[in-house]
């Protein structure tokens, strides 16, 4: 990773962990609890997709996919 990437990344993390100190109460989270609002609504579908595209392309990583995958919850 070059220096520029490192700086962008570090800045993003700091902004996220300090600047956005939002504090939703549990009863305000109804919408966020919907399945299609989760970061990965269908983890197994993601695993399959990444398997297909990474067999045709030369980059990977970043997506939160388990080895073998699991969409159990």
């Amino acid at each position: 990773m070059n220096t520029r990437n490192a700086i962008i990344l570090a800045t993003s993390f700091v902004l996220l962990s300090s600047g956005c100190a939002i504090n939703l109460k549990p009863w305000e989270r109804g919408v966020l609890a919907k399945t299609h609002m989760s970061v990965e609504p269908d983890a197994l579908q993601r695993t399959i997709r990444e398997q297909v595209v990474t067999s045709k392309e030369s980059s990977s990583g970043g997506f939160s996919v388990v080895g073998g995958g699991c969409g159990c919850n």
Partner: protein, 381 residues
């Protein structure tokens, strides 16, 4: 035809195996394990077909097993069969034409993979460890990943860190080859609730592969000689992913993702993905997907070489070329009750040199197009 039947599906799956083995679990907001009386099981079937080349059929089973209030186990099983033909190298044709030489259509392989994800709840987070293994005729992989995620700020922020290790063995049908390949990876991510309707996630992953990273079934034309694919024995990769998820009135959500990738082989790649999920009446859900991808070629890629390279490193594997790709997909899901749902999906994929929208692109004699269809069922006992 050269190497008829020898280009096994490793050609296609070598990299995905490595990737899957090294990938780390994702971040969900608020760590939980399965309730004692919930045993979820998910089955999916995949049919993947390339025009004129490979065909893959795969079955996936994911099973969740509650252990107690602080521990559970997620098991993932996979079995796939592959058959078809695969490109081997390029040769110059008349004029500027480039001719692709492919293997015969008699390639077959099968792959079995399993992983066990043990999860343990801590005071405000979760620790997970995932041993995994996979086996096919010409490739074996053993890996383990460990991840710790923790919540803060009343579960409005979730952090995750992880580390992975993979020990793979590469062989090749019809060749006397037995080589090792090792992978190490690091992962860090943060997920932040922005407001009652949106959240954002930032992930960084670093990976280092070493050992035999060439493709034993690929060849390259150097002047008048046909040589083996010969890549560097080390590769360092960085991927940065940003995702944004927003609820849209009424009953819809928009998912946006951007990934930047670069490695020390000279490949830089951009991936942009957008998904629209729309709830319909009677518990139907329609998801529409659009993905754009482009990459710059590896330093040592060319369709063929007119002069030898001083370092003897060559590859004419088109996956290392400069190109773009587009994927369009749809998924329809029907939930029957709180514990059963069915889904079907179809995705169309095209990879082509001139789909790269900025910078130079590599000449490709033929675009790759493929179709991927899945059927899935989810049930909680």
């Amino acid at each position: 035809m050269l190497l008829v039947g020898a280009v096994a599906a490793t050609e296609q799956y070598l990299k995905s195996l490595m990737t899957a083995a090294l990938a780390l679990p994702g971040i969900a907001l608020g760590a939980t394990v399965l309730d004692a009386d919930d045993i979820p099981i998910v089955y999916k079937h995949l049919t993947y077909e390339e025009d004129n080349l490979m065909q893959v059929d795969a079955d996936y089973i994911n099973l969740g097993i509650p252990i107690n209030s602080a521990n559970d186990l997620l098991v993932a099983l996979e079995y796939e069969t592959m058959s078809g033909a695969s490109p081997i190298f390029f040769t110059p044709g008349p004029g500027d034409e480039i001719i692709e030489v492919t293997s015969g259509a008699s390639i077959t392989d099968e792959r079995t993979a399993v992983s066990f994800n043990f999860r343990h709840l801590t005071d405000n987070g979760m620790l997970s460890i995932t041993p995994a293994g996979s086996d096919e005729n010409d490739y074996e992989s053993i890996s383990v990943t460990t991840e710790y995620q923790w919540d803060s700020n009343n579960k409005n922020t979730t952090y995750s860190v992880g580390v992975g290790y993979a020990d793979d063995t590469v062989s090749a049908t019809g060749q006397d080859l037995n080589e090792d390949k090792e992978g190490k990876s690091l992962f860090a991510g943060v997920t932040q609730v922005l407001d009652a309707h949106s959240l954002i996630q930032l992930n960084l992953s670093l990976a280092e592969e070493s050992g035999y990273l060439s493709d034993p079934y690929k060849l390259t034309l150097v002047d008048t000689s046909i040589l083996s694919d010969n890549r560097p024995r080390k590769r360092e990769q960085t991927a940065f992913l940003a995702r944004y998820i927003k609820y849209i009135e009424k009953d819809a959500s928009l998912h946006l993702a951007y990934r930047y990738f670069d490695d020390d082989w000279g490949i830089k790649a951009h991936t942009l993905e957008t998904t629209w999920n729309q709830e319909l009446s009677n518990n139907w859900l329609l998801s529409s997907n659009l993905r754009y991808y482009m990459q710059d070629k590896a330093d040592f890629y060319a369709p063929f070489f007119t002069t030898p390279r001083a370092d003897g490193i060559y590859s004419s594997d088109y996956r290392l070329a400069s190109y773009g790709s587009v994927l369009v997909g749809f998924k329809l899901e029907k939930t029957f009750s709180s514990n059963t749902s069915l889904d079907v999906s179809i995705e169309y994929y095209t990879r082509r040199g001139d789909l790269k929208i900025s910078g130079d692109y590599s000449t490709d004699p033929e675009a790759l197009t493929s179709t991927m269809a899945t059927f899935g069922i989810r049930h909680t006992f």
